[in-house]
């Protein structure tokens, strides 16, 4: 973490127990994932890796992730009843444990979530203190913290793309905190992940969406709001 702590890191955060990495962090991973999907899912397959594989149940991370998929906030007391509420809302879910995926962070969760035809695979890491990293989105390296506002742009891998996208965001006077590009497969697709200090307007997103070489845009405003 950068900078000095706040009084409210010492007297806070207000959270649902038992631990920030097993509850708050997990809720936030799910909240980020449903924003990537663009909807609350009706089906979810959750895989807990490594250290999480054994402990997720004892720590209630299973309830935390289901609560997060229903868009509960990290301090929502309803998390404790997440399973009952999921049943009412018709969310089907399945859990899996994988013990030794050494390439992943110790506290990693893979979420395969879908709503009707829409589906997405998100891999998130709970880093402690409620902080998270979304490592992969549909197989692309994403690496964003979801602490601020995030833009994920899938586009053809053309030259000048990065400069173009940053100039459009600059028009909004939004500060780019981090920007990364990853490429996958032979179809020349690039995935741009941009974290910004402030949000951007819907009209800017619409403009980007109208650019022919841009295939998909996912905008994730502050997940804690």
């Amino acid at each position: 973490m950068s900078g000095k702590s706040s009084v409210f890191d010492m007297i806070g955060p207000v959270m649902i127990g038992p631990s920030s990495s097993h509850t708050a962090g997990v809720v936030r991973i799910a909240r980020a994932a449903i924003r990537v999907l663009g909807a609350k899912p009706d089906k979810a397959e959750l895989t807990f890796y490594n250290s999480f594989a054994r402990t997720y149940e004892g720590h209630g991370s299973d309830k935390a992730i289901i609560g997060g998929l229903m868009d509960f906030k990290t301090d929502d007391p309803k998390i404790k009843q997440a399973f009952e509420i999921a049943k009412e809302q018709g969310l089907e879910y399945k859990f899996k444990s994988v013990g030794n995926a050494s390439v992943y962070h110790p506290n990693t969760i893979k979420l395969n979530i879908s709503k009707g035809e829409q589906k997405v695979e998100v891999i998130g890491e709970s880093l402690g203190g409620g902080l998270i990293n979304i490592a992969f989105v549909d197989g692309f390296n994403a690496d964003f913290t979801a602490q601020s506002h995030t833009l994920i742009i899938k586009a053809q891998d053309i030259s000048g793309a990065i400069a173009f996208i940053s100039s459009v965001i600059a028009q909004e006077k939004a500060n780019i905190a981090t920007m990364s590009v990853s490429r996958k497969g032979k179809n020349d697709e690039a995935c741009h992940v941009i974290e910004m200090d402030s949000g951007i307007q819907a009209i800017t997103i619409e403009y980007l969406r109208s650019i022919p070489w841009i295939k998909q845009i996912i905008y994730i405003p502050d997940i804690d709001l």
């Binding site: 900078g3 000095k4 702590s5 706040s6 009084v7 409210f8 890191d9 010492m10 007297i11 806070g12 955060p13 207000v14 959270m15 649902i16 127990g17 038992p18 631990s19 920030s20 509850t23 594989a53 054994r54 402990t55 997720y56 149940e57 004892g58 720590h59 209630g60 309830k63 301090d75 007391p77 998390i79 404790k80 899996k96 444990s97 994988v98 013990g99 030794n100 995926a101 050494s102 390439v103 992943y104 402690g128 197989g139």
Partner: protein
């Protein structure tokens, strides 16, 4: 301004130079760091204190059984027990610290102060102090600010995380925050407040983090009660101007040094101490998921 929370001596000097009290310096710090309005800080503190009070009351009222079964309504049993070992107040103190921490273990809402594992200590001590001495909320909130200042320095010089510094860093720091807050609420001087912190740290030094089955339940819950008791004994000693001899900054250094040389099996890994006892291992086998897929080496995800 940020130099302020590098040391207790720096905090005191700043207050002397500016002729302000300890808690006012914490407010200035927060405003300087986060650009907040002062009123927003008081509102946030009051909201946090309300969550603490609710946690105490919820833990004494509602069913509190953890999924592992290790936590099973202990706070209520202590609260209702016919024999008060010292006094009814002491009985309440212990049961309240247990109650708020049980709420944490049972997926209820708490304030991590400074961490979730230590979330019963400030609620138990401050709730009880307020009741006994009929203190205003304002006084308790000032105490919380002082607690925050104490934690900021410990974080800077040592650590607040069990995984880094052992349990002394979690329940020890919370007890130090509580002791300092209590002495402030009872009208203590700056030196008395810092002495209370120093004495508390001296009492909590070396405590390892060894949670059974890796769950924040045993010994965490009872340690919240003992840390609350130690905060009270330290406040009692410090108010009488009995010196800690070793200055508070050096006590925190000692905590950092001990934390750094602690083996990793005593740092939240559930590999040592109580977690490694026969019973601890049995519990771990019972409550942790055994049905885990192991990937063949070449099959690891990309």
């Amino acid at each position: 301004m940020s130099f302020l929370f590098n040391s207790f001596s720096g905090w005191k000097q700043y207050c002397l130079d500016h002729n302000i009290s300890l808690y006012e310096a914490v407010i200035e710090y927060e405003i300087a760091q986060r650009g907040k309005e002062e009123q927003a800080i008081w509102d946030g503190l009051l909201a946090a204190y309300q969550v603490m009070r609710d946690a105490v009351e919820t833990g004494l009222r509602e069913e509190m059984t953890s999924r592992s079964g290790m936590i099973n309504n202990g706070a209520k049993k202590v609260y209702k027990h016919p024999v008060a070992v010292l006094s009814p107040e002491f009985q309440k103190l212990i049961s309240r610290a247990l109650a708020a921490k049980e709420v944490n273990s049972c997926m209820g809402r708490v304030v991590a102060a400074p961490t979730a594992g230590a979330s019963g200590i400030l609620p138990g001590t401050l709730y009880t102090l307020q009741e006994i001495h009929r203190l205003s909320d304002r006084s308790i909130l000032e105490g919380l600010l002082i607690g925050a200042g104490i934690a900021l320095i410990i974080e800077e010089k040592a650590s607040l995380a069990g995984a880094v510094g052992g349990c002394q860093a979690e329940t020890g720091s919370a007890a130090a925050m509580a002791a300092g807050a209590m002495v402030h609420c009872l009208g203590g001087t700056v030196d008395q407040i810092f002495n209370a912190v120093a004495i508390t740290i001296q009492c909590m030094l070396g405590l390892v983090c060894d949670p059974v089955a890796g769950l924040v339940e045993v010994p965490c819950v009872v340690r919240n009660a003992s840390a609350a008791a130690i905060a009270n004994s330290s406040a009692q000693i410090a108010l009488a101007d009995v010196s800690a001899v070793i200055p508070v900054d050096e006590c925190v250094d000692a905590m950092g040094e001990i934390g750094a040389s602690m083996e990793s099996k005593y740092k939240e890994t559930a590999m040592g101490g109580l977690a490694a006892t026969l019973t601890g291992q049995d519990i771990s086998k019972r409550v942790l998921i055994q049905d885990i897929e192991m990937l063949p080496d070449e099959d690891l995800p990309e």
